[in-house]
């Protein structure tokens, strides 16, 4: 394929960029250099299908994404206005057919994202040369495809993707447990045998066969004692990389999938904040600086479309934007801290305004130090839930339908946090790589009130088995009872068990 050609912006857009960038700096946004490129709708769909990168390894799932995006576009249901990549320089793509006011809006939005990528702590560990890295990954995978055939490599990728979410999303930010002691550094204890006071008796009290026997016993005990892994490990992919009997090419591909999963993780962990922040800035820049009177209607129309909500789904743009505005307002008026919390007069609360003007400062701080979980945990208030009509929905078996279950603040917050924690995915650790001393793998699902989707879990076990090459087990709970699901390469079995 030809490279995406040099898509220098036409002069008119170049001017727009300078203008918008000026406003962004004026408001104190801080970003790497932003390079805008102009793409046709088809190219935008392609790049979006590739997760933002113009160069990825061949895989059908990108084609699937592309089909959805292009069908949505062809039937006028959806359109991608822009895309930004967490990279230094930050690349952003504009859709060719956007009208001028759209381009302005999009640019302002992009500068919000660019600022967020650079400053939010979640992205601190990410590779800022990912553009190149992704291309390298593509080349490496292609090389294996040339040697082994597309089918073989793709099937393996399918399996890895099935396990892709089994990584430790927090690993980049914390250290788990004490560092591992490398094997070699432990002094092997001397085997002394029974006490022999007289040197000439030693040989008779501790004959060599006996000492040998002792040593063997101790080694056996050591081996029994040694847990493998030493403590439960969330990063199942790493465990597989280190311990599964993989071919070199398999190892390389699994490592690539894992690296990309870690790279994309922070974007998932800050979806609400990131979109909220970018929306806050496009709205601020547009309404306070960039917008011309003649563009008002178009701007309002597109802004409203972005913020649209439908029941049963949460729009991260909307929630994020409103939360940032809410925080700004509260810190401007001093609606926080002990006095505010303890005030129980509604009237007084409604009139509360200490004129602190700390809002801007606060939201800049928030964008640096929070991710979605902590953001919601700290800044979602009962007033906010009420004002924005949040609710919790669930499945009602009696009515065979989804319905609104509650509008209670506590319930909403709990549900929302649960949805965001670990990406709303079940938490699963590798607990034993030598389960029942048969080199079987044991994973444990930390059950938190929601059962796994069992049919899929079984299929996933099949994929896991094909990497581990020995039977694999998953402990979970089904309808309140502990169960071990096992797949041995041919058959699935299931037994009751509590760990």
């Amino acid at each position: 394929m030809r490279r995406l050609r040099d898509r220098q912006l036409p002069p008119r857009l170049r001017d727009l960029q300078d203008e918008v960038e000026g406003y962004a700096r004026e408001f104190g946004l801080d970003f790497f250099e932003v390079i805008f490129e102009l793409l046709s709708y088809d190219e935008v769909n392609m790049v979006a299908a590739y997760g933002g990168y113009p160069n990825r390894y061949p895989h059908w799932r990108f084609g699937m994404e592309y089909e959805q995006l292009s069908k949505g576009y062809e039937y006028g249901l959806s359109k991608i206005y822009e895309m930004v990549i967490n990279n230094d320089p930050t690349y952003a793509y504009l859709q060719e057919s956007n009208s001028e006011v759209d381009q302005k809006l999009v640019m302002a939005h992009v500068y919000g994202h660019a600022d967020f990528f650079k400053n939010n702590f979640s992205f601190a560990h990410t590779n800022r040369k990912m553009m190149d890295e992704m291309a390298n990954h593509a080349t490496r995978v292609r090389r294996w495809i040339d040697r082994l055939g597309l089918e073989v490599v793709e099937n393996f990728i399918d399996r890895c993707l099935s396990l892709e979410n089994l990584i430790d999303y927090h690993a980049p930010y914390i250290k788990r447990g004490p560092p591992r002691v490398p094997e070699g550094e432990k002094e092997p204890e001397r085997i002394e045998g029974l006490r022999a006071d007289r040197e000439y008796m030693r040989y008779y009290i501790n004959p060599p066969e006996y000492l040998e026997e002792l040593r063997r016993q101790r080694e056996e005990a050591e081996r029994q004692k040694k847990r493998f892994p030493e403590r439960p490990q969330r990063d199942v992919l790493l465990f597989l990389l280190e311990h599964a009997p993989l071919e070199p090419w398999e190892q390389e591909i699994l490592a690539i999938i894992r690296e990309e999963a870690y790279y994309f993780a922070p974007q998932g962990q800050t979806k609400i904040m990131n979109e909220g922040w970018a929306s806050y800035w496009h709205s601020t820049i547009m309404t306070q600086r960039a917008l011309k009177a003649s563009e008002l209607i178009d701007y309002a129309d597109h802004h409203a479309a972005t913020m649209a909500v439908r029941p049963g789904a949460l729009n991260p743009y909307k929630i994020g934007l409103e939360l940032f505005r809410d925080i700004e307002d509260r810190w401007n008026k001093g609606r926080f801290g002990k006095e505010w919390e303890e005030c129980d007069s509604l009237v007084e609360k409604q009139r509360w305004d200490l004129q602190l003007g700390l809002g801007r400062q606060k939201i800049f701080e928030v964008r640096r130090l929070y991710n979605d979980v902590t953001f919601i945990d700290e800044f979602l208030t009962p007033e906010f839930c009420l004002e924005h009509k949040l609710f919790v929905y669930g499945y009602n078996d009696k009515h065979q339908a989804w319905e609104i279950l509650s509008r209670d603040f506590k319930v909403i917050k709990e549900k929302l946090l649960h949805q965001l924690t670990n990406f709303g995915q079940p938490i699963i650790d590798v607990v034993d790589g030598n389960f029942e001393n048969r080199a079987e793998l044991l994973l444990v699902h930390r059950h938190d009130g929601i059962d796994l989707k069992l049919d899929e879990a079984r299929l996933t076990l099949e994929n896991l088995e094909s990497l581990w090459r020995r039977p694999v087990n998953l402990h979970t709970r089904v309808d309140g009872k502990g169960v071990i699901l096992r797949f041995d390469g041919k058959e699935h079995s299931e037994r009751r068990a509590d760990l």
């Binding site: 061949p58 990108f62 084609g63 699937m64 099935s162 049963g312 789904a313 319905e403 609104i404 299929l459």
Partner: protein
Amino acid sequence: MTLKIHQDHARFKAIVRGRIKQNLRRFIQKGEMIGKRGKDFITIPVPTIEIPRFRYGPKQQGGVGQGEGEVGTILGPAGDGAAQGDGKGKAGDAPGHHLLEVDVSLDELAEILGEELELPRIQPKGNDRIVTEKTRYVGINTTGPESLRHFRRTFRQALKRQIITGTYDPRNPVVVPYREDRRYRTWKVTTRPESNALIIYIMDVSGSMGDEQKEIVRIESFWIDTWLRHHYKGLVGRYIIHDAVAREVDRETFFHTRESGGTMISSAYKLAAEILEADHPPEQWNSYVFHFSDGDNWSADDTRLCCDILEGRILPRVNLFAYGQVESPYGSGQFIKDLRERFGQDERVALSEIADKEAIYTSIKEILGKGR
């Protein structure tokens, strides 16, 4: 302009069609987008392949949403999260709104089904059968009239001969054909039976027909239609869809419409009878009527009316009346029994029950296999 993604896209499509990577077929899910074309709502099928993962089961899960509504307000029926209500339920008697489905590639469907089904040929009855002859140029021969000489093949043959015999000189590339080099086009005569055949398709598209039922009907009638068309070029098709009211539609609409209303079968039979009486006198036409429904008719009175129309106005004019009843989740399906009672012995009537998608194959054989 080709984009790199088109390879991935082609590969994805091939997987969905089942051409490659059969192991992924079981993960294919039928999704759809709802869009608008003109005034009509349309559904756009978007198949997806879900790679299995450890994830939460849906029912205990739920989530957080935003919008109006009291506690207990229903957001959507079973199925996916917040899908729109799509008229599942018992037969009612009000016409509903119409949804068109687009972007199904009929050719491909025919291709797939054609490989899998082997059907006996229907021999059309009647005296009006016309056999047409058609000549097609299909091959090459060494003899023939000069007017059909194939110049390129002739010269190619001459070139071959010259190279073999070593008389070809690349520096002076002159090729002279001899008599033996000459090649001529040949033709073949194919005969096709053509007949004045009419097929009336009637489909129940009422709300009580669930998505699966409609799909079954669509697949079966589509296949019958495609297959018959393939064999009989002179075939005229008329299409009727009905819920509480019947209307005649064109072929495309017939295969793509989803409705949601009640069921009054008599309305369709009346319309079919009118079509037969007005345009297709039995002395000139071989007529066939295919009707598909879940058999969940609005009332016994209406069923009686249906039988009367059938007996008095339709059967005397047709070679075959076939009724295929799709098994409905609501288990009523009385209609086929009523028909069987009254017309069970009548050899102009073919009745078939279609339990599920697997049964389409046998059902088509039951209906067409009568060799009428």
